[in-house]
Structures are given as C-alpha cells and as structure tokens.
C-alpha cells in the first residue's frame, strides 16, 4: 500500500481543522506526502494582458493530444458558436484551456476624454482615484474621464468610437486545481488524486466513468468523453512538471497572461499586479480564486479579472459541495433510523393474523 492517500485532506487525520473547506497551508502534506514534497505550483492568469490569441488552447491540445470538438463538446465536429471569436465554448473533456471572449459596449455620457488638461491628466494616472475630493463632481468627472483615457492608453482591449466605448474581455480559463477539490472528494475509485505538486489529476487507467465528479465541480471543468466513457481534465501538464518543464499553455502564452510557478510566488506577483492596476485607476480589476478563505480554500489556478466572474462564465461564490457533507450524512443516518422506526412500529402495531 502506498502511503499517499487518494482521499481528500479530509479524514486523513493529519489536520483536525479545515479538512473539508477553508485554507490549507500544506495541501500535499494533508494528502499524505512526506515533508520533502515539491512546492505547490499553480497558474496565475492575468486577463488584463490576454490578447485572445488562443495559443494556450492550441498548445494544450497538441501536447495532450486532445481530440477536436465543437463549442458543445461534440467530438470531431466543427461548428461556429456565434459567441464573438469563441468557438471553443467551454472547458470539457477535450478542452482544457478555453479562451473566453466578451465584447462589451458602453455609452459614454462624459465630456470628450481628449479635452482633459494634460497636467491633471498626469495626476489622474498616477494618483489613486479615491484621493479626489469627495463631493467635488468636477474633479470626480475629470478623474473618471482621465481614468477612461488612461485605461484605453495602456489597455489595448478598450477603444472609443463616437459616443461609445468598446472593450473586449479575454480570459483563458482552466481547471482551478482547488485546495478543496469537489471532484477529488467525491471520486469513488481514487482515480482522481492530489499530485506532489498540489495539483489534481485523473488516472485514466482507474476511472470507471461513474461521472460523479462532473456535477461536483463548482466550476464545471471536468467532463466525460462520451465515446470513451471516462472523464478528463487539465493535469497542469503533470508529465511536463515531473520533467522540470512548465505546462504547455504557459510556455505558449506570448503575453505572459498565463504565468506558471510556485503558488505563493504567483500570489505575491498577483497582489502586486492588482496594486499596480488599482493605482492606474482600473477599479474593476479583482483577483478571482486568490482568497484562501473562499468556499474552496483558494485555487491553484487563479485569475485577475476586469469584470464580475459570471461575465466570464465563472461562479461568483463557489463552494466545495463536501463542505456540507457531514450535515448530509447526519441527515441520511437520521432518515435511515426513521425508516427502521416506522417499520418496527408498523409491524408491532399490527395484529398478527
């Protein structure tokens, strides 16, 4: 027997707290790896510099020899989705990187941005917007306009046409490699396991296609390949990691939108990047999956987004379903006891013929 448990950190007895949800400082340790395991690795996907080139999708498909599919996951079919430049559609068994495209427009009822005096404009770029005097509508307006201009200057995703502003949000989605992974928790065969790198991987020779992981993922990542019967998802290129290479998608990304590395280093880098963007006035920037107090204990693959998560097809407040499992087991035990009680009283309360 191997010493590495395929069960989740829960019930391995190493950690009385946070076994089912909440922050876990040492995910691999909780999964049973000895203390000399490698550091936890992850992806930081900075969508503010994504150009939507889909090099990550192609690199992933090529390296992992994934079959072709359309935007609904139908294998070996071509189809246009009608969703902007996104004909990939969604993550699934055959798609482990998915670049989302969101075209947005906004009517600008502001003074023309080019009218701003250059001096103020300099301030607008460098100062945090909340330094503007509250209640001073002129200053606020100018700050807003200048922010808008600033954003379009450094952000190729936004441009202006007449009274409308247009922006493209692009984001390369991937398996989140959760700290508390629903798929891993519910897998009855142990096919899903936690690697020494802290990632979550399916063992194809074990999976029996029960499909339980599919609805248990709060992000809708893992799926079944119909003609194969088994489930597939991103492995964070486990084979490459063991050889000291970085995952194919991160290698292929031309803008460093996909950054691979040790998770704590990436988290620090992401915090700094968010700080920079906020300082530049991009108030809508936010980190997604970075918070280790969220419902899944934080993600191994987290994101910097420019709009609400659901705009990108991400759940705004995901929780790992097994957080509530103790309550469910108690309820099932009570219901089973109730059945025995009802049957007993039914028999004892009936006259014997």
């Amino acid at each position: 027997m191997t010493t590495v448990s395929s069960a989740s950190p829960a019930f391995t007895g190493n950690d009385p707290q946070n076994r089912l949800f909440g922050p876990l400082p040492d995910v691999q340790g909780e999964a049973g790896y000895a203390t000399d395991h490698p550091a936890r690795v992850g992806f930081f996907t900075d969508t503010s510099v994504c150009i939507g080139c889909k090099a990550c999708e192609v690199a992933c498909k090529e390296w992992n020899t994934l079959p072709m599919d359309d935007s609904y996951g139908n294998r070996d079919t071509l189809g246009l989705s009608g969703m902007s430049y996104d004909n990939t559609g969604q993550l699934g068994a055959n798609t482990w990187r998915h670049v989302a495209f969101i075209e947005q427009v906004r009517t600008v009822d502001l003074p023309m941005p080019t009218m701003g005096p250059p001096a103020t404009r300099q301030d607008g770029i460098t100062d945090a917007p909340d330094e503007a005097e509250p209640g001073d509508s002129v200053v606020t307006a100018q700050t807003s306009v200048l922010n808008a201009e600033a954003l379009s200057e450094f952000d190729p995703q936004t441009s202006q046409s007449g009274d409308r502003e247009i922006r493209w949000l692009m984001s390369s989605d991937v398996c989140k490699h959760c700290t508390h992974a629903g798929c891993l928790d519910v897998c009855p065969t142990g096919a899903l396991f936690r690697t020494e790198f802290g990632t979550v991987v399916v063992q194809g020779d074990i999976c029996n296609g029960c499909g339980y992981c599919v609805p248990s993922c709060p992000y809708g990542v893992i799926n079944q390949r119909k003609d194969d019967g088994r489930v597939f998802k991103c492995t964070m290129c486990y084979d490459r990691l063991t050889d000291g290479l970085q995952p194919a998608c991160a290698s292929a990304c031309p803008t460093q939108s996909i950054q691979f590395g040790d998770l704590d280093e990436l988290q620090a880098r992401a915090d700094a990047r968010l700080e920079t963007l906020k300082r530049q006035g991009v108030e809508s920037a936010r980190l997604y999956g970075r918070d280790e107090d969220d419902g899944v204990g934080g993600n191994g693959a987290f994101f910097l987004l420019l709009d609400e998560p659901e705009v990108y097809g991400l759940p705004p407040d995901p929780i790992v379903t097994t957080r509530d499992l103790p309550a469910m087991w108690r309820s099932a035990a009570a219901a089973a006891a109730m059945m025995v009680g009802v049957a007993l009283s039914a028999v004892l309360g009936s006259r014997r013929s």
Binding site: S331, A332, A335, V347
Partner: protein, 358 residues
C-alpha cells in the same frame, strides 16, 4: 449626473450585440420559464408557492456554469427507486420474520432481492466503463457518497439476493434469517444514502435541500416498499405493509413540499417543465395511493390498486427530483443568483456593502 468612470465595476458595460440587459439572450429565455413557473405555482394549493422575483443576473452567453450530470435517465432514477423499494422491503422482511409473519417475510425478501439485483444492474449500466465496476471497491472514502454507497450496496445486494434465492429454493432456513437481518441492517442506509448522493454535488436544486433529500428518499422508499409488498401479500398479513406505506407516503409528501417551497429560486425547477409535471403526477399518485390504502387496503383489489399507485408515486418522485436537478444545472440563473444572494447576505452581515471584489 456624471456616471462613475469606466473603471468603476459594472459601469454600464453591456455585451455588444445583445439587448440592453446584462444577461440578454438568457434573460429572454428565463422570462418564459418564469411565466410557466407562476402558472404551475397557481396550480399548487393555496398559493403557497412563493413568487420568485425576476432575477437579474449575468452569464457567459447563457452557458451553464456547472456541467449537468452525465448520469443517464432512466438508469439513475430507476436505481434510486429500486434501491429504495428494496431497502425498505428488507427492513420490513427482517422484522416480519422475527415476529412470525411467513407470507409477508417471503414477499419482502423477494422484493428486496429482486430490487437490489436490478438496481445493481442499472448502476453498472450507467457507468462509462461498466467493466471497471469493481474499481468502486478499491478505496473507501467517507467524502464520496458513491464510495460509501458502494460499500452499502455490495453487502446489501449480496445478502438480499442470497436470501431471496434461498427463499425460492427453500434451502438453509437458518441462513435465510441471518441474510434477511443483514439485508435489513443495510436497507435503511441504502434507501437514504442516495439522497446524499444527489445532494453532494454543485447542482443547485439538489445541493440546497441537502438535509431534506435523504428524508424524501427514505419516505419515498417506504411508500414504494410498502406498496409493492402490499400487492403480493395476503391482505390479512399485510397490515405492516399498509402502515409503513401510508406513513412513508405522508413523510414523502411533507418533505417534498418543503423542498419545493423552502429554497427560493432553486425551488423553482421543481415546479416547472418536465420535473414539475412529474412531481405533480407523483404527488397525485402518492396521495391517492395512501388514501386508497386507508379506505380499501383490506380488500384484494384495493390493495393492488393502492400499492401500484404508491409505487408509481415513488418512481415519479425519483424521476421528478432527478429532472429538477438537471434543469437547475443547465440554467446559469440557478448557479449565479443564489451565490449572489449568499454574498449579499455575507456582506450585510459584515456590515459593509461590498461591490467590487468578492
């Protein structure tokens, strides 16, 4: 008034080419369903169905956020039904055996054995790789209801199947009693773990009522097991079946009512579409079956009719709950709106209205 700048979250950004609402395509589609939901709601008694407010939400081109279960219908609903009927029959059979009711014992054992073997067949047939069924037993994981369920189903079907076989063949009378008791011990967990099986997913309409589903399935199992044994047992000895069936039906109706009404927007799929139709039919069958049991259960014809109605009600309940979950998984509304509500409640509790990062 000057709007918030471009950089303020939400700041007026809409999806290009869509309507002027953030959810565009989805919302139109959602509205149609809502209208249907209201109509279904009025059909329910006394206007107890809460009117669900128009939900404003955003999605990625109306795509679902979570993946709908790949479990096949009718395999999985039939597994749930057969497992439940077999489980409750096994309990009844074991107690009937110990209190000396030979006819009821025999019928219960045959129901439990047949149901368990059939349920195993449906469970294995649903696997993507059926030949790897035994991989279920290579680990045991308390975090996986399907793992625990396999360790309930395996001994149950072995014991119940063997007991039914020796019952038919008439061999080893003392082994029969032992097998019957073992099956009876695993019968309750078999019937109720399936509630956990469905609830322990990210499917909104299954996860939200996670405390109720085991009771729905437990009650439904007793209605089915009581109903089936009632049909085949001489009425003079079928008193326990009738009592268990009526109690089970009452529990099923009460808890299903709670599931259908107590969970805000994620209760909606239980009223609408196919699931709504199935569950309305289920309630009609179960209520009629329970009523007829009380009125005519002591006559042969009455027992047959009411037993069949109770079993049909239980079967329809399983299909209805299954379909409601599938519907809730396929519409991003049921994933996004409850999560947004949860975040708003949390923000209110923390005393600050968070608008940006969550």
């Amino acid at each position: 008034m000057v709007t918030e700048g471009i950089t303020t979250p939400g700041a007026g950004w809409r999806r290009a080419g869509g309507s002027d609402v953030a959810g565009d395509g989805v919302r139109a589609h959602g509205t149609g369903r809502r209208r249907k939901g209201r109509r279904g709601g009025r059909r329910g008694r006394g206007g107890e169905v809460p009117m669900v407010e128009e939900a404003d939400f955003t999605s990625y081109y109306g795509r679902p956020i979570i993946k709908p279960p790949v479990w096949k219908s009718p395999d999985v609903p039939l597994y749930l039904f057969l497992g439940g009927a077999a489980g409750s029959s096994a309990i009844l059979g074991a107690i009937a055996d110990l209190t000396g009711r030979p006819a009821l014992t025999r019928v219960s054992r045959l129901t439990a054995g047949g149901g368990s073997i059939l349920s195993v067949v449906f469970l294995i047939h649903d696997l993507g790789r059926p030949e790897r069924f035994l991989h279920m037993l290579r680990v045991i994981k308390p975090t996986s209801p399907l793992s625990i369920g396999s360790y309930i189903l395996a001994p149950f079907s072995a014991a119940a199947g063997a007991t039914a076989a020796v019952e038919l063949l008439g061999w080893f009378p003392r082994l029969k009693r032992f097998g019957g008791v073992v099956a009876g011990l695993f019968g309750g967990p078999l019937a109720t773990y399936t509630g956990v099986l469905l609830a322990n997913t990210a499917v909104p309409s299954w996860h939200a009522p996670h405390r109720e589903l085991p009771f729905v399935f437990g009650g439904s199992a007793m209605a089915a097991g009581g109903g089936v044994t009632m049909v085949f047992t001489p009425v003079a000895e079928a008193g326990p079946s009738r009592k268990m069936a009526v109690t089970g039906a009452a529990i099923e109706l009460a808890v299903v009512h709670r599931v259908e009404n107590g969970f805000g927007i994620v209760s909606e799929p239980f009223h609408t579409g196919r699931a709504g139709t199935l569950l309305r039919a289920a309630k009609a069958c179960t209520a009629a079956g329970a009523g007829l049991t009380l009125l005519t259960g002591r006559s042969r014809a009455g027992a047959v009719v009411s037993g069949v109605l109770l079993a049909a009600g239980s079967l329809l309940t399983r299909f209805g709950v299954f379909e409601a979950g599938m519907a809730s998984a396929k519409d991003p509304k049921y994933t996004v709106v409850p999560q947004r509500e949860r975040m708003a409640a949390r923000a209110a509790q923390n005393g600050h209205a968070s608008t940006v990062s969550r």
